[in-house]
């Protein structure tokens, strides 16, 4: 998968060929090959009745469910709003180790039939196997991993069958007691009986969330350590606030060793739940500068990503938004944020699109994070991008620049024009570079195989002695004179879950790397002389 021409080389070549070709265009970074790789999932949103959930799509998880060292794929299906149905069953595809997938849904117990939205991955029972929590329009489902790609519905015994309109969700150790608690974002109180009629100058359309005037509260579950959870939303302070929640990111935003929770709300101020310890939180997003954009306006928060843009050790935030709003990048400086979207070159290119899923990843492996945004409208476009689908919009790919900004990559190889929703990046074929999976509303899933990466790489997975992924760990890698930092934060993008491992690109570096892992509880692990171009699993005690 390295047969593309690298972007740096491409740009040099361009200078010499200025008169022959349009300057600034790259060879495609991806090729789409879902069918060839065995993926036949088609997202179904149900009969088009202009019922709100129909337009919101769903997410996915990249997770090694069978602990065989490769990434499997869990795809959340929407289905039929009249009730659970076979059309609405989620799908599990297992990886054969070479990046080809086999539908293993039947009999796996993972094929939840609810009107699905999102998925979180975490080993809540500490047995070394990643479990799944699925949010639905309706009752959510906890799927306990029984091993061998088999799951069991453990919702009732765990007490996490919250019935609402769940969207993104995240496992994290909120009280630092060694087990994973669970944060569930809810969108709004929706019922078909409350549906209302909306429209634009183009006719009947889906309503905006504020038309329903019914934002919901999120839910926080405390893991009791015996396979069950307790709803602590009220004591935690979470239930005091409501919002049209869609996205979630977890990380230590203030640098105090505790994991905080950031919630992206649709057309309402976002929340940054600062962890005060003991599963108590307070929302300080407004003062910290990440509740609204630099104009003070709430935006239509869809997906969110927590990532370390400058490798300075703190977590920055990115949110995707509605057309005619910008996507927004909040840069963290000492725990407070500044909206730096425009200076970093990400404001203007997003004005014509509605972003949902987003992935910051070093796709070209030059040591600088790039950005993929899955776009798709929630209200009718004029026949601008696709005459057949008024909700379709082109996805976007941005190259990260050494200067700290971004520039859009064109042509948009394989970043199709669809109504895209969930997206996640991971090394699906074991070649060390990051591929993408995108769920498009009412369309076939897309697998975007990376054909541009050329530089050196390293993938680090951090587990404890039981084999459980260490969510929230910060991983620093020094190689080739460069120090890069990433955080293990799978709950991200839109209703999706990334692999619980971190990827680094190092350009033309050779030799070995020095890897440091810092867990949220302050414990460190160090690994010297780690050869590049491999995936390493680091066990911490």
């Amino acid at each position: 998968m390295r047969h593309g021409v690298g972007p740096r080389h491409q740009r040099l070549a361009c200078a010499g060929a200025l008169l022959l070709v349009a300057c600034g265009r790259d060879a495609p970074w991806f090729v789409e090959n879902a069918s060839e790789r065995g993926l036949d999932f088609v997202h179904a949103r149900g009969e088009a009745r202009y019922w709100f959930p129909e337009i919101m799509g769903s997410g996915l998880a990249l997770v090694d469910v069978d602990a065989d060292g490769d990434l499997d794929l869990y795809l959340v299906q929407s289905g039929d709003l009249s009730g659970p149905s076979d059309a609405g069953r989620n799908r599990l595809y297992r990886n054969d180790g070479r990046g080809t997938f086999v539908d293993a849904s039947a009999g796996s117990g993972a094929d939840d039939p609810g009107y699905g939205m999102g998925v979180a991955v975490g080993d809540y029972d500490g047995d070394g196997l990643p479990d799944l929590y699925v949010t639905n329009v309706g009752r959510n489902t906890l799927l306990r991993n029984e091993g061998g790609g088999r799951f069991r519905d453990a919702t009732e015994e765990a007490g996490v069958g919250h019935e609402a309109w769940g969207t993104s969700c995240a496992f994290f150790d909120g009280d630092a007691d060694g087990d994973l608690d669970l944060y569930v974002v809810n969108y709004l109180h929706w019922d078909a009986r409350n549906e209302i009629e909306c429209g634009t100058s183009l006719g009947q359309d889906y309503c905006s969330p504020n038309s329903y005037e019914s934002p919901a509260q999120d839910v926080l579950y405390e893991n009791l350590g015996d396979g069950s959870f307790r709803d602590v939303s009220r004591e935690a302070g979470i239930a005091d606030v409501f919002g049209n929640g869609l996205g979630v990111s977890v990380g230590d935003f203030g640098g105090d060793g505790r994991l905080d929770v950031y919630v992206a709300n649709d057309m309402m101020p976002n929340q940054l739940w600062i962890n005060d310890g003991g599963l108590r939180f307070h929302d300080d997003a407004l003062l910290l500068g990440c509740a609204v954009n630099r104009n003070g306006e709430s935006e239509a928060g869809m997906g969110t990503v927590a990532f370390d843009l400058e490798s300075d050790g703190d977590l920055d935030l990115f949110l995707t938004h509605l057309r005619q709003e910008t996507n927004t990048l909040y840069v963290n400086a000492g725990g407070s944020f500044s909206d730096r979207t425009a200076p970093l070159g990400l404001a203007a290119p997003s004005l014509r699109h509605t972003g949902f899923g987003a992935c910051f990843a070093d796709f070209d492996q030059d040591g600088v994070l790039d950005l993929f945004v899955a776009n798709g409208s929630v209200s009718r476009n004029r026949p601008e991008f696709d005459p057949e689908d008024p909700y379709a919009e082109p996805d976007q790919l941005f190259r990260g620049l050494e200067s700290g900004g971004f520039e859009e990559v064109e042509p948009r190889g394989a970043t199709a024009i669809e109504a895209s929703r969930g997206a996640a990046a991971g090394d699906l074929d074991g070649d060390g570079d990051l591929d993408l999976v995108v769920v498009d509303s009412n369309s076939r899933v897309r697998l975007l195989e990376n054909v541009t990466a050329r530089g050196a790489w390293l993938i680090v997975k951090v587990v404890d002695e039981a084999g459980s992924d260490q969510l929230g760990a910060a991983v620093s890698v020094e190689a080739g004179g460069r120090l890069l930092r990433r955080h293990v934060a799978p709950a991200t993008s839109y209703c999706s879950s990334l692999p619980a491992e971190v990827h680094f690109g190092f350009g033309n570096a050779t030799g070995s790397a020095r890897v440091t892992v810092l867990r949220p509880d302050g414990t460190r692990a160090l690994l010297e002389e780690v050869p590049l171009n491999r995936r390493v699993v680091l066990t911490v005690r």
């Binding site: 600034g24 409350n194 009629e197 634009t200 100058s201 003070g296 200076p343 970093l344 070159g345 203007a348």
Partner: protein, 472 residues
């Protein structure tokens, strides 16, 4: 990457753009006289067009066909398209108007405004730069130019046009706000505070200015002031200086949502009669739109036309008997007509239809409170707050019902939440001050009055409460 994208939209917009560029600022007025007038711009597609918008466009097109050689005909069409977010058609129409009458530079300004969402930012900046050069005496043109430079990440460059805007229109806050925003980007928070304080003094209701002032205070480490200003400013809308065409633009908003919004604005400003007229005309093109029928009924109620409100709501109920909103309005309508039992029945129906919908419980609380059933009203208000803990209407209803029952702590808690969510809620601040005085909590009263003084220094209630506080 500034290579143009090869889609139809961009091609059209660029065509419009280059037409104007060819005209140039140096073109002599009337230089196109004698040439064939440009074709009037028709909608790109009418297939999904709102009937009201289609009707308006057809009417204005017919009028424009009478004088296709006049810039005004094309410009008016541009306004019609711009008012209904038909940006491509608007940009092309303004380009035509500007070509026919280069001396009427406002068409160039609106051409740039319409092109803003169509073109890459570099091209937008270039368009506005040209407009700003051509209109050095126009504060709106300078302010728009500064804004697009800011959007392009060129804060330092944005300072000059914003400064010019403040010099041309020192009575308007937008230029000062733009300068403040640019200075925040360039790290000059102290100067930003000075300008933004001036802007908020010019227009205390301009929330966007308060938000930026909060950010500037935060940069200076003044956390208390920052919290207050950020809360005052959150969810304000950034606005641009209005130009001579703003009134006409408003008049041409024709789609149902635009008309409902316009009616809401008219209602907010107390112009209930005009709100009724706007909605009645909208109903003609969408007689089975239940949302519109409900809005019209509410407007009728505002002007005391209760029976007409009831008739409209019965129509809505017949079209969609499951709609909670209709039941809420029917409850209010029957209450206004004096039929309390029916009002309670419909409030109950609203709750049954939407058991998670806070406004249904607010409706129930209101009608029960007026029916002298405060305990049940209070229960309904609590249910509303349970479903929407920071919804101001729910919290107000909770405060009223709690106060009715003499539940001071609960009243105070509800009011405190209101001012936390909306520190500019004058009524809640005054009630909090009053409650604090009643309970002898002078410190809390002083704090509430301090905020009231900032929000409404001339409020007569303020002086009365201050006098009570000052008494030994």
């Amino acid at each position: 990457m500034s290579c143009p994208m090869p889609d139809a939209l961009r091609t059209l917009a660029l065509a419009a753009c280059s037409t104007i560029a060819a005209c140039g600022s140096g073109a002599a007025p009337g230089s196109s006289a004698g040439a064939e007038p440009p074709a009037l711009v028709e909608p790109l597609s009418t297939e999904h067009l709102d009937p009201r918008v289609r009707e308006l466009v057809e009417r204005e097109l017919a009028a424009a066909r009478e004088h296709p050689e006049e810039a005004r005909s094309h410009g008016t069409l541009g306004l019609v398209y711009e008012a209904n977010s038909m940006w491509e058609e608007a940009a092309r129409s303004y380009a035509n108007a500007a070509k026919l009458a280069p001396e009427e530079r406002v068409w160039r300004l609106h051409h740039a405004i319409a092109s803003r969402v169509l073109l890459p930012i570099d091209e937008v900046v270039a368009l506005f730069a040209e407009v700003a050069r051509a209109m050095p005496e126009s504060a709106p043109a300078q302010e728009h130019y500064g804004s697009v430079l800011l959007e392009a990440g060129r804060a330092a460059d944005a300072l000059a046009p914003f400064r010019t805007a403040t010099e041309l229109a020192p009575e308007k806050p937008e230029g000062f706000v733009g300068m403040g925003a640019a200075l925040l980007e360039t790290g000059e928070a102290r100067e930003a505070v000075r300008l933004l304080e001036h802007a908020t003094a010019l227009d205390p209701a301009y929330r966007h200015a308060h938000y930026l002032l909060g950010l500037a205070y935060r940069e200076l480490g003044q956390e208390d002031l920052a919290r207050l200003e950020l809360a005052l400013g959150v969810d304000g809308q950034k606005r641009h200086m209005s130009d001579v065409l703003a009134g006409e633009l408003n008049r041409f908003s024709a789609s149902v949502p635009a008309r409902v919004q316009r009616a809401a604005r008219l209602t907010e400003s107390g112009d209930y009669e005009r709100a009724v007229t706007v909605l009645e005309r909208s109903i003609e093109s969408a007689p089975r739109n239940v949302t519109l029928l409900n809005n019209l009924a509410a407007a009728y109620l505002n002007v005391g036309r209760k029976q007409e409100a009831l008739d409209v709501l019965k129509q809505a109920e017949e079209i969609d008997p499951a709609r909670s909103l209709t039941a809420i309005n029917l409850s209010a309508c029957y209450e206004a007509l004096g039929f309390t039992r029916r009002a309670v029945e419909y409030a109950d129906a609203a709750v049954a239809r939407a058991p998670d919908y806070a406004p249904a419980y607010i409706a129930r609380a209101r009608v029960l409170l007026n029916a002298k059933r405060p305990e049940e009203a209070h229960e309904a208000a609590r249910a509303a707050v349970q479903r929407a803990p920071r919804d101001l209407d729910s919290l107000r209803m909770l405060a009223w019902t709690a106060r009715e029952l003499g539940l001071q702590d609960e009243t105070r808690a509800a009011l405190a939440t209101i001012v936390l969510v909306a520190p500019d809620d004058l009524t809640a601040q005054l009630e909090l001050a009053e409650l604090a005085l009643e309970s002898g909590d002078r410190a809390a009263a002083r704090e509430a009055l301090r905020i009231v003084r900032r929000l409404a220094p001339g409020d007569p209630k303020l002086e009365e409460l201050q006098a009570r506080l000052d008494r030994p």
